[in-house]
């Protein structure tokens, strides 16, 4: 008897004995082909099918050989009659695929039992794929027929099981998944339905780079608009959240007025303050319900009241809530890829998978992410007005509130309203800052301080909460003291017959949970320690015997509420009260159980929540287990540019595990990006110390990480020399296998020598790099970037154009637009130094091209600044002015004081050369704040000159004094400061009609410039500007031009003529 199974992979037996039959070999592939052809096939068909690329006679020879091999293993089972080949089909032959076909019509369940997996799994010939698909479709049809039959007989569970099998059979079949989603939803498992959709959309994005079709999305949107029928119907009584709003009519009117303005296209924010339980959430909820009823978009989020919320968690929640209602944006929109950092499913939702966002340095990432969220809000508001509710901002993470301020400001002209609730206690400096920022910009349209309710509204609430006698209503009023939550809870307790009403919520909570046991109590307690609502996926992972029944019974207590697929406490105070009732050892165990459920949920496909898991593990006392979660939380925070939060996670982990050198290195890198050099160096030292006795390779990597920090955020070329040098020496000891690290060390050394060491040594290292490193974009960038600097150092500015351009193009191809910007900005500076101003403008345009559509506003501002400088130098003042206006506009959007001040400085310099003296004086004065990338001594000298022109001579003298007390760095062109100062001293003396002193000072300046003219000072000054200020061009020095100007000043002074304004 020959038995062959084709489903799941080829398996052949003769008389019950399995024989080796690898389908990957030609003879057995031919056998499989014959097994699927009951009528047999021709030799020609077999020869062309299996040996298509050889001559006919060779193919036929190969076929003969294969058939001979088959017949040797299967005696009398392969019939070859002339041209025709077939398996001998008699009682001694059984093939599952043929049996499947036979049973399908009259015994579909038996047929499906045979369908154990994909046909000929492991063999991917074209004919197999077609046959596999045919059988798969057939199997799915059978399953669906059976599912419908079971449904008709009331066996929903059986129908669902068959639908799940269909989905397993074809994980990318949308129609099958729509059936699954519908049956899950109909069966009350709305969360399961949403999960099935999420799995499908993620799989489609990953494997096909498309999103589910509009039909599937529409289905899921309908589903999301519904509540959970199963849970809701089991609620015993109306939840307080559903009671009519009482006693807050005036406040609601105010909020509705603000919304009216938003509806007319004017963005606004509102804040609702008040003590816990006073009715803030109820008021915001009422507004939200009314807005939603009007067909507008709404979304709500709440802070995790546990400490240590993940950065931007509020916005992740808001984005997810808005997502189902959003139409796909235009294909060219880049924001979905950026917002995906917050909500990973977003690009797939919009069918935009496959275009990952380019990576940029952390200091640029934040703005890009914020801008992307603003773009999403603008897109949402272009469809319908939007209401966003941010609950409990006093507990919110700082980046979430910073983004709220940013979004409110940037979206001020859009129909978007943000309503926020907060308590005054606990105090929150971040929430205070947000309110202040909104208020100072006139964006806070409504501030409500909810006061205790009067007696009558409290009585109304009590009557609505439970059927009470009037004396009981009076007890409620007396007990509640105007607090809505306490009123409702007291009323409910009295309504349930608790005559000894506890004066506190804790007493109420105790009365409710004491009689409970088993899973119900555990569920309530876990909801308390979770400190947020629990969704259905998570509930499933808690492994209750019957989670749905436990949830339904927990809802009966009235402590919990089911809403939007999640179960949570009706109020945070109730939750706190229950938590306080749990004795410590049990509470720790519950925290642990919840953490494990979160991890299990993640393994099942849910969004990872490492920060929350870490917090729960720490509360559980499982500190060691929290360490890897804290590290993951830090990595996630870094990806969101929330560097402070990432550092905090790592520092917390290091308190537990101070020997983790990898964490020290991570924290060092983040401290460097945060501009905290000393802390970064300290962390690097700890890591290097810990690695000191270990492998030279690991130690070398630590030194390389430090070199990277000095190369990037800290920008200390001499530090790079030391660290990359140490790494290189260690890598020599490490032996083979560290080519990438060697190359990095070499490239870093070359750059550092080029910028701050010996240009000759830089060239030598670059030659070495050229020999050692494999070609590629990163190599081209490293070499070109360093070589351009080395050439600039030597004053060979024009020679630097080519390597810098090569580097810029290569690193753009490698997906680093921020570094590409740097290349173009640097070479623009070189072109300016060479006097090739048209060329410089061209390079600046290349810089704009490199960052176009990347959301990199800060580099864009610097490019406008550079453009303004070059245009000013070319005397094209109107265009220079326009460039500074673009710069100022972008800086205002970002609202970074340093960039705003830089824009003022640049505008002022145009004003100074255009005779707009008062404007110049005002803006220069305003630009002198800390941290601005400008030369402070030079700015003060310019300010003094402007003040001389506006005849504010004492102030001008004050600025001269201040100029010499300013710290001086190489980027301030220190050698030029003396003749510059002398010139302004001369101008001041002339303005004071002290002609001899004026002539003396101007002559002193002339002498100074004459000395400098004899030397080449441009080269080092240019590289110093690039390294110190991180700006492309801030004031190149041209001694000849300066000399001519001072000579003209002197000549005018001698002749008694006015000093010319424009140089």
């Amino acid at each position: 008897m020959l038995r062959a199974r084709l489903f799941g992979g080829l398996h052949v037996e003769i008389d019950g004995v399995a024989i080796e039959s690898p389908a990957s070999t030609r003879p057995w592939a031919v056998f499989a082909y014959l097994a699927l052809a009951p009528m047999g096939v021709t030799r020609t068909e077999l020869a062309t099918r299996f040996w298509p690329d050889v001559l006919d006679h060779s193919a036929r020879a190969s076929l003969r050989s294969a058939l001979w091999a088959l017949r040797r293993q299967l005696p009398d089972r392969v019939a070859v009659e002339g041209e025709r080949v077939a398996l001998v089909d008699d009682d001694g032959l059984w093939i599952d695929a043929r049996e499947f076909e036979r049973l399908a019509e009259h015994a579909p369940e038996q047929a499906l039992e045979l369908h154990r997996g994909p046909l000929l799994d492991g063999l991917d010939d074209e004919w197999v794929l077609a046959a596999r698909e045919r059988f798969r479709e057939r199997a799915i049809d059978l399953m669906e027929r059976l599912a419908q039959t079971r449904e008709r007989h009331g066996d929903g569970r059986g129908a669902l099981e068959l639908t799940r099998r269909q989905a397993e059979c074809d994980p990318l079949d949308e129609e099958v998944h729509r059936r699954l989603i519908t049956r899950l939803s109909d069966g009350g498992d709305r969360a399961g339905a949403l999960r099935a959709y999420r799995a499908l959309s993620q799989r489609m994005a990953r494997e096909l780079a498309v999103a589910p079709s509009g039909r599937t999305r529409e289905l899921i949107e309908q589903l999301r608009r519904q509540d959970i029928p199963a849970l809701q119907t089991r609620e015993p009584e109306p939840a307080p959240g559903l009671l009519a709003l009482v006693g807050r009519e005036r406040e609601l009117r105010e909020l509705e007025q603000v919304w009216g303005g938003v509806n007319r296209g004017r963005g606004a924010t509102a804040v609702i303050r008040g003590e816990a339980g006073i009715g803030k959430t109820r008021l915001a909820g009422e507004l939200r319900a009314r807005v939603a009823a009007g067909g507008h978009l709404t979304a709500c989020c709440g802070a995790l009241d546990l400490g240590g919320s993940a950065p931007l968690s509020l916005w992740a929640e808001l984005v997810r809530e808005l997502l189902p209602a959003l139409a796909p944006p235009p294909p060219q929109a880049s924001w979905p890829q950026d917002v995906a950092l917050l909500a990973v499913e977003l690009p797939a939702h919009f069918a935009q998978a496959g275009a990952p966002t380019a990576s940029v340095a952390p200091d640029l990432q934040r703005t890009r992410l914020f801008e992307a969220v603003v773009a999403l809000l603008a897109w949402a508001a272009s469809q319908r007005p939007v209401l966003l509710v941010l609950e409990d901002i006093h507990s919110a993470d700082e980046p979430s509130l910073e983004l709220a301020a940013y979004a409110a400001r940037r979206a001020a002209g859009l129909p978007i309203m943000m309503a926020m609730t907060r308590r005054d206690l606990p105090t929150s400096a971040a929430a205070d800052r947000l309110e202040h920022a909104l208020r100072s910009r006139g964006l806070l349209a409504c501030e409500l301080d909810l006061q205790p309710l009067a007696a009558e509204p409290v009585a109304t609430l009590a009557r609505e909460a439970a059927p009470l006698s009037e004396p009981d209503v009076a007890r409620v009023v007396a007990n509640a003291e105007g607090n809505a939550l306490l009123a409702v809870e007291t009323a409910r307790a009295l309504g349930r017959g608790h005559r000894d009403v506890a004066p506190s919520l804790r007493g109420t909570a105790r009365a409710e949970i004491t009689p409970l046991g088993g899973d119900v109590r555990a569920l309530i307690e876990i909801a308390a320690v979770a400190a947020r609502p629990v969704d259905a996926d998570e509930l499933e992972q808690l492994e209750f015997q019957d989670a749905t029944a436990a949830a339904a019974e927990a809802l009966q207590t009235g402590l919990l509420l089911a809403r939007e697929g999640r179960i949570g406490f009706r109020h945070a105070l109730l939750r706190d009260a229950v938590r306080e009732e749990i004795a410590d050892p049990r509470r720790r165990a519950l925290h642990k159980r919840w953490a494990q459920a979160l991890l299990a949920s993640e393994r099942a496909g849910a969004i990872p929540l490492p920060a929350e898991v870490a917090r729960q593990l720490r509360l559980a006392g499982a500190d060691a287990e929290a360490v890897p979660q804290l590290a993951r939380a830090a990595a996630k925070a870094r990806s969101l540019a929330a560097l402070d939060q990432a550092v905090a996670y790592l520092r917390e982990a290091l308190q537990i595990a101070p020997q983790r050198s990898d964490l020290w290195l991570f924290v060092a890198e983040l401290e460097a990006w945060s501009g905290r050099r000393e802390r970064a160096e300290e962390a690097f030292e700890r890591a290097i110390e810990l690695l000191g006795d270990g492998s030279p390779f690991e130690l070398a990597r630590a030194w390389l990480a430090k070199a990277r920090a000095y190369h990037g955020p800290i920008c200390m070329p001499r530090g790079v020399l030391e660290c990359a040098g140490a790494a290189r020496a260690l890598l020599e000891q490490a032996g083979d296998g560290a080519e990438a690290e060697r190359r990095e060390a070499l490239a870093a050394l070359a750059w550092a020598q080029a910028v701050a060491g010996s240009a000759d040594e830089a060239e030598r290292l670059l030659s070495e790099l050229d020999c050692e490193a494999p070609p590629g974009d990163l190599h081209t960038y490293d070499v070109g970037h360093a070589r351009a600097f080395a050439l600039m150092r030597r004053g060979r500015f024009r020679d630097s154009y080519e390597p810098a351009s090569d580097a810029g193009e290569a690193i753009a191809r490698a997906g680093r637009p921020d570094l590409a910007y740097g290349c173009w900005a640097n070479v623009a500076a070189a072109a300016s130094a060479a006097g090739d101003f048209d060329c410089a403008l061209g390079f600046i345009d290349r810089g704009f091209d490199a960052i176009a559509g990347q959301g990199l506003k800060s580099p864009e501002i610097h490019l406008h600044s550079a453009r303004a400088f070059v245009l000013r130098r070319m005397g094209r003042m109107d265009q220079a002015r326009a460039a500074t206006e673009c710069e100022a506009k972008l800086a205002a959007e970002l609202e970074q004081p340093e960039l705003v001040a830089m824009a003022k400085h640049d505008r002022a310099m145009v004003a100074l050369e255009s005779g707009e003296d008062e404007l110049a004086a005002r803006l220069l004065g305003e630009s002198l704040i800390d941290g601005v990338p400008i030369s402070r001594p030079l700015t003060r000298l310019a300010l003094a000159e402007a003040l001389i022109r506006t005849r504010e001579l004492d102030r001008a003298a004050g600025e001269l004094r201040a100029a010499v007390l300013e710290p001086v760095a190489p980027s301030d062109f220190p050698e030029t400061l003396v003749p510059r100062l002398a010139r302004v001293q001369g101008l001041l003396a002339l303005a004071r009609e002290d002609l001899p002193e004026g002539e003396l000072r101007l002559a002193e300046s002339v002498a100074g410039w004459e000395r400098l003219l004899a030397r080449s000072l441009d080269a080092d000054s240019v590289t110093a500007v690039l390294a110190d200020l991180g700006r492309p061009v801030v004031g190149l020095v041209e001694p000849a031009r300066e000399l001519a100007r001072v000579r003209a000043d002197l000549q005018a002074a001698v002749k008694g003529e006015p000093i010319a304004v424009v140089s």
Binding site: R961, V964, L965, P967, V968, A969, P970
Partner: protein, 130 residues
């Protein structure tokens, strides 16, 4: 490493002292023992001691953004001079810290005298300019 600190008050405003301090070409006018100065590239210059025109002493003039200092380092002897200015009434307080490498510790006393004389001279010279 031997080191010392010295200070002087000039009646001249800080601007005038500052111009002398920031211009190596003017060092011979006030720095005792400096005969001539050749100013080179990259922040470097060469001082020739009085009476020794064939004995170049390469120097590096550096400035520090964070501490308002002018630092002069001798590339031959590793001597290091850190100069600081601060307003003092209508005049200027001039301070200097000098580090002398161990190998040249014997020069401590002579450097004290040289710097004291230089301080007096720069303070006076700045007044002449003012």
């Amino acid at each position: 490493m031997p080191s010392f600190h010295d200070t002087a008050i000039s009646q001249a405003p800080p601007e005038e002292v500052w111009k002398l301090l920031y211009d190596p070409a003017r060092f011979p006018d006030w720095w005792a023992g400096v005969g001539t100065v050749d100013v080179g590239d990259e922040g470097s210059y060469t001082m020739f001691p009085d009476g020794y025109p064939d004995f170049p002493m390469a120097q590096l003039l550096d400035t520090r953004r964070d501490s308002q200092q002018v630092v002069v380092s001798c590339l031959v002897s590793d001597l290091r001079f850190e100069w600081r200015l601060a307003p003092a009434g209508d005049g200027t307080r001039i301070s200097v810290d000098v580090d002398i490498p161990d190998g040249e510790a014997h020069r401590l006393q002579s450097q004290r005298e040289v710097i004291a004389a230089s301080l007096r001279r720069i303070a006076e010279l700045a007044c002449e300019r003012g």
